[in-house]
Amino acid sequence: MLSRRIFSAIATLLLLTAGATPALTQDQSIVVASTTSTQDSGLFGHILPMFKQKTGIDVKVVAQGTGQALDTGRRGDADVVFVHAKAQEEKFIEEGFGVKRFDVMYNDFVLIGPKSDPAGVSGTKDIAAALAMIEAKDAPFISRGDKSGTHSAELRLWKVAGIDIEAAKGPWYKEIGQGMGAALNTAAAMDAYVLSDRGTWLSFQNRGELDVAVEGDKRLFNQYGVMLVNPQKHPSVKAEAGQRFIDWLVSPEGQKSIGEFKIDGQQLFFPNAEQQRS
């Protein structure tokens, strides 16, 4: 009696799992390791359905920090890497893990801070001066501290401001080691300054007393690049489907759909792929 019940329970389980994993079969799908900023802003939700409709290829996005996304590619666990830290990307190509790097688009970073503005940086367009003031006043600052593209950009900007952050960091400088959203949540809770990409900031719901403090400095531009993981290093890479995705991203059609993505009427990403010389 009971064995029959157990049997039917197991059969039900198998059915449930089978039903939940139809995509396990080798269909047309690729894994793209990308960043939290592209996913959390909703960009992929906007462009992927168009790509799928055109090619029938399912794009599975694993959203990680840039450092982790590159590592996922390095291990062969993704077919395409779509991130924003040019120096790290070029190293990835040099080491032979990626085939070729394409510029896709840029967005910009914004310095977010509490409306009370304890460092008095609001309104300036000079990001280096603003960071220097924050450091001088020991105003609370949240750093991603996770080797992400945004973290790399933050470290680069401290250098531009002439500050050796390793030496200057104190209790005012908190490295949380988490994603962009978590950093914004922390900044909102502590009334701290934080560097964010504009997309995540615009779609972020839990702003508290935070607002944009500094924006518009050219040095805040943030370039995104896309690369196919080298199939010679990892034969499992779906090179053809992956390259089709890359080709589409940099094609006039893909570029147009990126430019059309808006939140609250604001364009988040500015396509700037070089048109391919065929």
């Binding site: 009971l2 389980l13 994993t21 666990d77 978590a182 949540n185």
Partner: protein, 230 residues
């Protein structure tokens, strides 16, 4: 899922994405518990009866593994299933199957350790009888498992609770891919990182409600079968 919607509106409107997420969460967790039970119940029972040098150490380690940190289990399974890892050729990373494996690893020590304790307690009661009846070791294990089935049910529920509630392993090995490996807990983590706290809390409440519902159903089954067993 649109940010403007609250979790309750999602339920009321029968949101297809939400139901797919709930279904995947339950399928992954129940499969993991089933696999862990098939291995853990006999393993725990054997450990209860077997006497060998170093047995105490094994029992202590097994009990300790009930507290395995999910992020460590996730990372180990990740390295194992990665294309660069020993099982890479199967291409299981970032699939629901990877999540089932990771959760089964997490739950197995809980089921095995609780089974060992339950069976060992019962063994003291049954020892003379079973020895006198000259039952072989496998027969003993089967008898003890069968007679403690109602207590072992709780061990399975403990495993289920652990698997249903955790986010660390499934996030790492599943990748939280929209429509493919996104579960209840990883959705809550994602919505939190988007600063969408009300939706995150709402989804969390749905998850708690589901866990209680499943425990209630399990309780009902137990009562029913206890009555039948007399």
């Amino acid at each position: 899922m649109s940010e403007e919607l609250s979790a309750w509106q999602l339920i009321a409107s029968g949101d297809a994405t939400l139901f797919a997420i709930v279904r995947l969460s339950l399928a992954v967790t129940l499969s993991a518990v089933a696999i862990a039970a098939v291995i853990g119940l006999p393993l725990g029972a054997l450990l209860a009866l077997a006497r060998f040098p170093g047995r105490s150490a094994v029992v202590v380690v097994l009990n300790g593994f009930m507290g395995l940190p999910p992020v460590i289990v996730g990372l180990s399974v990740y390295l194992l299933l990665s294309r660069s890892g020993p099982l890479g050729e199967f291409g299981l990373l970032f699939t629901p199957a990877a999540m089932v494996i990771a959760q089964a690893v997490l739950v197995l020590p809980i089921i095995a350790a609780l089974t060992r304790q339950t069976i060992e307690d019962l063994w003291h009661e049954y020892r003379e009888e079973l020895t006198a009846m000259d039952v072989g070791p496998l027969g003993q294990v089967a008898t003890l498992l069968w007679d403690s089935r109602f207590s072992l049910f709780t061990a399975l529920l403990a495993g289920f609770g652990r698997a249903a509630a955790e986010v660390g392993t499934v996030m790492i090995v599943g990748g939280n891919i929209n429509g493919f490996t996104r579960t209840m807990t990883t959705t809550v983590a994602l919505e939190t990182s988007k600063g969408n706290l009300p939706l995150a809390v709402g989804l969390g409440l749905i998850l708690i409600f589901l866990i209680i519902l499943i425990n209630a159903a399990a309780w009902g089954v137990r009562l029913w079968s206890e009555q039948r067993a007399g």
